[in-house]
Symmetry: C2
Subunit: 317 residues, 2 copies
Amino acid sequence: MFSRQKVVVTGGAGFIGSHIVDRLVEANASVTVIDNFSTGRESFLNPAATLVRGDLLDQSLVDRAVEGATMVFHLAANADIKDGLKHPRRDVEQNVLATQNVLEAMRKAGVQRIAFSSTGSVYGEPSVFPTPEDAPFPVQTSLYATSKVAAEGLLTSYALGYGFQSWIFRFVSILGPRYTHGHVFDFWRKLRQDPTSLHILGDGRQLKSYCHVSDCVDGIFLAVAAGHDDSGIRIYNIGRDDMLEVNTSVSYICRELGVAPQLTYSGGARGWVGDSPKILLDAARLRRLGWSPKYSLEASVVDTLQYLVQHPEMAPE
Amino acid sequence: MFSRQKVVVTGGAGFIGSHIVDRLVEANASVTVIDNFSTGRESFLNPAATLVRGDLLDQSLVDRAVEGATMVFHLAANADIKDGLKHPRRDVEQNVLATQNVLEAMRKAGVQRIAFSSTGSVYGEPSVFPTPEDAPFPVQTSLYATSKVAAEGLLTSYALGYGFQSWIFRFVSILGPRYTHGHVFDFWRKLRQDPTSLHILGDGRQLKSYCHVSDCVDGIFLAVAAGHDDSGIRIYNIGRDDMLEVNTSVSYICRELGVAPQLTYSGGARGWVGDSPKILLDAARLRRLGWSPKYSLEASVVDTLQYLVQHPEMAPE
C-alpha cells in the first residue's frame, strides 16, 4: 500500500522507528526519516531512506520534510519515563510540542494520515486487567505518559477538526534488536560492568508485559491497512496477553549471560515514581484484525539479550 | 484557613478567578493576582488584591509572584473552546505551557498546594451519564480539552513526583455575574444587535448542564478544606444533576430580554467540532462533602442575563 509513495518516519533511526523504515523500504516506499540522533543511531538507519537530520522543534525543517508525503509515522519521542522528574519540561517539549509541529507541518502540506506511538503508561495504575482502550479514565502518574496523552489528544482533535486519519498505538515495553533503553537494557549494562551483583528498583515483583518489536510492527501495519471508521480515529493497544515478573526477566537475562549475581532490591511495589506495579493490556481490538504475536515473553527477552551481546557498542563501557 | 496567608490566583481578574479572589479576601488572605487581562477585567478585580500584570508564559514574572505563597488557585486559561481550531497552538501554549510554568515556579519556591480549573469537556462525548470522574477513557474531541487533560496530568505527576497537593475541578459551563464568554453570552450579544432573529449553532437540542459561579466556588473551597488522600490528588466534577436544552436556555434568555426572535439553526447534533451533544456530570464525589448547589439551571441563566443587561459594557456594540 506504500509502493512509490513518500512516507515520513520521525525517529526513523531509533529502535522501533528503524524497524518501521525497514518494512516501508521493503514495501517500495520512498522513505524520509527525520531524526536528531538523540537516541537514534546511524547504524540503525536503512540506507535506502532519505535522512533529514534535525529536531522536530525546528518547524521549518519538519515542514520541508513532510511536503509531498502521503503518511507520517511519528515515532520520535523522549522515551525515558523513569527520569522524567529530573527534567520536568522535556516530555512536554519533545512529545507534545514536537507532535504539534508534526501535525502543523502535515496540515500545511495537506498530509492527513498519521500513525503514532503512544504508550500503555497512559493507563497509569489501572484498576482493570487486562486493560482495554476504554479503561476507566486514568490518573496520570508520569510526565512521560502525560505528554503522550496530550499528543494523543492533539491527534484526535486534528482528526475531528481537520479531517486527519490517525492511528494511535499504546505499547507495552517493546523488546528486540536495536533495543537501546529500558530495564532489560539497564540490567544487561549493569551486569556487564559487575556480573556479581545486581540492584533492582522496586521489589522485583512488578508484573511487566513485553512485546517483540517484530510483532509490534506487524500490528502497526495490520491496523493501518485495516483503515479506520468515519471519525478518522483508531486506538489500539499492542501487547501480549501474559506477564512476567521482573525477577523472572532477570533470571532469563542472567541465564543468557551465564552470570549468577547477588540480587539486591530498592524495595516497594514500584521501581520509581510513575512505575506501574502491573501492566497487562487488552489487545483484543488488534487481535480481531488477525494480529497474533509470534514471540513469547521469554523469546522476546532472549532475543534482546542476544542482540545486545552481539552489539556491545550499544552501551560503551 | 487562608487567614493572613499569601495566596496566588492566576486569572484572578477573570470570571471565576475574580470570585475566588473575593472569597479569599473575605477570608483575610493576602491575595496576589496574576492576570494578563486577555479576558480578565479591571472592574472584576478585588481592590484588596495585589496585581501582577503579565503573562504566565513569562516564567520570571510567575516565579516572583508565587514566592512566599501557601497555595495557588490556577484559573488562568484560554477558555475559548469553540474557536480552538482557528488557533491550533493557543491551547497548548496558554493551558499546557502556562500550567507548567506555574508548577515550576511553585517547585522552585517550595509552594505545593494547587487548585486547578479543568473542564467537563475532558470527557469528550461520554458514553455514561451522569459522567463520573472515572468514566471510560475518553477520546479527546477538542484542543481545549486536550490541553486541560495535559494540564491535569502535569498536576498529578507533580503530586506523585514532587509531593504536591493538587485539587482538580472539572466544570460544566459556569454562569453568573462577570460571565464574559460562552453561548449564553453570545446569544445575549446577538439579540442586542438584532432582537428579531437568532442563529443557533447545531439543532438547538444539545443538552447542556450549567452551574452558577457562586455554587462552583462553594464547591472549590469545600473540597480544598476537605484536604486529600495520601496521593496528593483529588479530582472533582462540578455540575448540577440536571440538564437544559439549548432551546430552553434560549427561551429563558428571550423572556428575560423581552424579545421574540425568529430562530434559525445551523443543524446537526453538535454546534461545532468538539461540541458535546449532551453534558451531565456526576458530582456525587463533591456532594459527599456536603456540596449542594443553590441556583437552579433557570436561576443560573436568569441571573446571568440580569447581570449582562446591567453591564452592557461587557460587549461593546
